[in-house]
């Protein structure tokens, strides 16, 4: 992807369009001509010429981009009122007229006078309407953002049994409003910047002033400002550009499309990053246990929530180590399997032609193929694929004697386990590492698994997310913060909010990659 954009940039260098003049002129026709030229006469740029006032009529134009504006507002509150503006302009030159229109005539929420082309273009392209009046070296921008948007729907990635059904949409304003509606606190602050030379994507950070540690806020802002890239198409871009360590299979930023999760995390002192055009919002800093928490945990009673969380930890271990342990046990450590079970497995493996590791790899890869195939198909066909793949192929493979039934069971359990982790981001890294573990298991048995596990844990312990140790509060051990990790203690015993984001825990951290990716 990046190379593609780099490429396009190189070609644009040769073409090098004329630089934009700084300020607008007072002649309407000149301004419109420039507009047309700069936009390449794109048909979605609508220029509505009109005449306003009475004796002499003054030429004016309303310019907007169709589709991203609220047409009704433009029609009713701009064009209609302008055309109906019949007062005598008298001696007023365009300059004064434009002030008057801004103050007395146009009835939209936000209106500004601008003189610079660059900001006019930016405003135009983000959905505002421009009003030019002949004779005025100024233009008005009227807030008319609008257009077709997806309605608020139930989030599709993090559905819950209990809890709000609202999910974020692609519009950043809507999303921020949803959070505002939950946290009615003036300390909920938002700061906004635009990132991407071409896309000029709106990115906002949101935090609760006083709750969030200023060091983290500053770090987030610093890293966002450092980004130099042509385009931001999704939150993933930002995530990869601001995370601490890029060479890691584990996510160090949390993403969600649920307003309640964002609100909860803001209250804990995290910083949210909203990106326009995607329903996914980033939360920083993230710790490892966070990826095993679902919003249901907080809505159900504590005992059930705790039990579920232990189950999830177990599930994660299965999805990471399941096939590896099985392969190690049946190729290296036969003595550790109870005799009866061993005989059952041995009987099944009598006729299997492949070594255990190969058998496991075949089945795991088959499963990954099925998953990938089912993912992008229409839902109706997707289920067919999984039935055909899972049931028919599995059954046939066993009957043909290519794989043993036990292996199929192990792979199936692992597959299901990898879907049971609440966060997709960490489930997929477990899925990737599973193969590494399997190879280690095949070459050195349990010792290999343990070695790989040590490497993984050491790596996890070395990660930091915006200065917070990734494995906190287990390593470093912070007993006061254990209330909301693997266990969730009852609400009435949570005396104070978690101190994880405390400045004591934050260390200067290195974010090597964000500067280096300059385009």
């Amino acid at each position: 992807m990046f190379s593609f954009f780099e490429h396009s940039k190189k070609t644009s260098k040769n073409y090098s369009p004329e630089p934009l003049p700084k300020t607008i002129k007072s002649s309407l026709s000149d301004n419109l001509a420039l507009l047309k030229q700069k936009t390449g006469k794109s048909p979605d740029i609508i220029i509505r010429s009109l005449k306003i006032g009475n004796q002499p009529k003054v030429k004016a134009a309303v310019v907007y981009v169709s589709g991203i504006v609220d047409t009704q507002t433009i029609n009713e509150f701009l064009i209609e009122v302008l055309i109906n503006y019949k007062e005598k302009p008298g001696n007023e030159a365009g300059q004064e007229l434009i002030e008057k229109i801004a103050e007395e005539v146009v009835s939209v929420g936000s209106i500004k006078t601008e003189t610079e082309w660059s900001s006019l273009f930016e405003s135009l392209l983000s959905g505002n309407a421009l009003i030019f009046i002949d004779g005025a070296a100024k233009a008005l921008t009227a807030g008319t953002k609008g257009g077709e948007k997806r309605a608020i729907q139930e989030p599709s990635t993090q559905s819950t049994v209990r809890g709000s059904r609202e999910g974020f949409t692609e519009s950043m304003e809507t999303n921020m409003a949803m959070v505002r509606r939950i946290i009615k606190n003036p300390n909920l602050w938002i700061e906004s910047i635009k990132i991407g030379n071409q896309t000029r994507t709106d990115v906002s950070i949101m935090y609760i002033n006083g709750s969030a540690e200023s060091a983290v806020i500053e770090e987030v802002k610093k890293r966002l400002k450092k980004i130099k890239i042509d385009s931001i198409l999704e939150s993933g871009y930002i995530e990869q550009l601001i995370e601490d360590q890029t060479m890691s299979p584990f996510p160090t930023l949390y993403y969600t499309e649920r307003p309640d999760i964002v609100a909860g995390n803001l209250l804990e002192g995290r910083v949210a990053v909203f990106i326009n055009g995607t329903p996914f919002t980033l939360l920083a800093p993230a710790v490892f246990v966070q990826f095993f928490q679902a919003s249901d945990d907080y809505y159900t009673r504590f005992d059930i929530a705790t039990a579920t969380r232990f189950l999830r930890a177990f599930i994660f271990l299965i999805s990471l180590l399941g096939p590896a342990t099985f392969v190690a046990a049946i190729t290296y450590h036969h003595e550790m399997i109870p005799t009866t079970l061993l005989i059952v497995i041995a009987a099944q493996r009598e006729s299997v032609p492949f070594p255990a590791i190969f058998e496991a790899l075949i089945m795991e890869v088959t499963f990954e193929i099925l998953r990938e195939a089912g993912l992008r198909l229409p839902k109706a066909i997707g289920s067919t694929v999984s039935i055909v793949g899972g049931l028919v192929v599995g059954q046939a493979a066993v009957q043909a004697g290519i794989v043993s039934p036990t292996m199929l069971i192990i792979v199936a359990i692992t597959a299901i386990a990898s879907f049971a982790t609440p966060s997709f981001a960490v489930a997929i890294s477990a899925r990737l590492l599973r193969f590494a573990f399997m190879i280690c298991a095949a070459s050195l048995g349990f010792y290999g698994i343990m070695l790989a596990l040590f490497m993984m844990v050491a790596h996890l312990c070395s990660l930091r997310s915006f200065g917070i140790p990734y494995m906190a509060p287990f390593a470093p051990f912070m007993p006061g913060n254990l209330g909301d990790t693997l266990v969730r203690i009852p609400w009435w015993s949570m005396k104070k909010k978690t101190q994880l984001m405390n400045h004591k825990n934050i260390q200067e951290s290195k974010n090597k990659k964000s500067q280096s990716l300059k385009t």
Binding site: M247, T331, Y332, H334, T339, A347, Q348, R349, G445, M455
Partner: protein, 404 residues
């Protein structure tokens, strides 16, 4: 420096890929040995017999079910030591012999009485695959090879059936005990304790037992049954203990788990059956002027299981009298066993060990002469208390109504 991490990943991968899986063994390269038997042939060489599981015939399942073919195959070969017999057998078997699931070691009567078992166990203890919790049994009146070749009907693996039989006998009869390699070695090396190993014998014609027809019949002609406890002295089998003597020995060594005793009541022999639920034996040893004095105290707890004369079991005095009778019975058994052992001059009770514990200094002096001199002449005092806790679903027997 920038790519250091990927280099380390590369090292690990190359390590794993190159390192070529030295200890890797696929399951279908292994022959699981379920039992191992030691015999002696005419030339005085060891004969090792290996019972190897055929998993497909045991597990059934998709392969069309076991039962058609024998669930085990037996191989045997001679050699100067045990490892050599294994070497000879492995030429006949297409797979690696694998011992981690060996559950039973059978020592033939001949080996035990002629060569002794002292030198047998080093391999079992040293080899990684053998587990020291493997059971040890003796054969009686048959060779170990024959014993291993008999097919069994309940547990498809004969070794399993022998172990389970023994376990059942231990838990209900009180005349047998399960003994593991660990225990045997420990009692071989401590001079004040001799091993007691349960024996099995074959009922019926051994040759027939190797055929599938035997186990397809409702009344298999050939069976294996526990039969006595082997008594050792200096590592050699010298005697068998059976019935009450065997049980008396186990009483004294705190090995009885459950058993039933019959006592004489109202002049009727074996009139009341007393079922022991649990018992506790304590051995205390003292040395008085180099003369060992051992006191054994046994406490047993149980219930009345069967009555064949009418008696008033609701009366506590009757129960107390029965308790006394039971205690007497147990005491007699123990004394009989001790008398027997003293004649054999073999301390199967671990009395010597008890003296070792209480008088470690003096023990060093008498250690060598313990079995022959001190043990036969030691003073042994047996104290038994038996308690009846309950009498089952009925109080008095219907026989008491019959009499009226």
């Amino acid at each position: 420096m920038k790519h250091k991490r990927s280099f380390f990943a590369f090292i690990l991968i190359s390590l794993t890929v190159v390192s070529g899986c030295w200890d890797k063994r696929e399951m279908n390269e292994l022959a699981f040995v379920s039992a191992f038997a030691v015999d002696l042939n005419e030339e005085g060489k060891y004969v090792g017999t290996f019972q190897i599981i055929n998993p497909g015939n045991v597990a059934g399942g998709l392969q069309g079910g076991g039962g058609q073919n024998a669930s085990i195959t037996v191989y045997s070969a001679a050699g100067d030591n045990l490892l050599e017999t294994e070497g000879h057998v492995s030429m006949k078997v297409s797979r690696d012999l694998y011992y981690a699931h060996t559950n039973l070691i059978i020592i033939s009567e001949k080996v035990a009485s002629e060569k002794g078992i002292t030198e047998l166990f080093d391999l079992f203890e040293r080899a990684r695959e053998f587990r020291t919790t493997t059971n040890v049994v003796l054969t009686r009146n048959s060779s170990a090879e024959e014993m291993l070749s008999v097919l069994t009907e309940k547990d498809k693996i004969p070794a399993e059936q022998i172990v389970n039989n023994l376990k059942g006998a231990e838990e209900s009869q009180g005349e047998y005990q399960k003994i593991t390699i660990d225990n045997v070695i420990n009692s071989l090396i401590t001079s004040g304790n001799e091993p007691l190993i349960s024996a099995f014998s074959i009922k019926g014609e051994p040759k027939k037992g190797t055929k599938m027809e035997n186990i397809q019949a409702s009344q298999p002609e050939v069976r294996m049954e526990p039969n006595g406890l082997g008594v050792f002295k200096n590592g050699k089998l010298i005697d068998w203990l059976e019935g009450e003597t065997a049980r008396g020995t186990l009483w004294a060594t705190d090995k009885v788990q459950a058993t039933s005793l019959n006592i004489t009541w109202k002049n009727k022999k074996d009139a009341i059956a007393y079922q022991v639920v649990r018992q506790k034996t304590k051995i205390a040893a003292q040395l008085k002027k180099d003369r060992p004095k051992i006191s054994i105290s046994v406490r047993a707890e149980g219930r009345i299981a069967e009555v064949s004369v009418s008696s008033d079991l609701t009366n506590p005095h009757t129960l107390a009298a029965i308790e006394k009778e039971v205690a007497k019975e147990i005491k007699e058994e123990i004394e009989k066993a001790i008398y027997h052992a003293q004649i054999n001059k073999s301390d199967t009770f671990g009395f010597g060990d008890a003296i070792h514990r209480s008088h470690p200094d003096k023990w060093k002096k008498i250690k060598s002469e313990w079995n022959n001199e001190y043990f036969p002449s030691s003073d042994i005092e047996v104290k038994v208390e038996a308690f009846i806790r309950r009498t089952g679903l009925r109080t008095n027997s219907y026989l008491s109504d019959l009499e009226q």
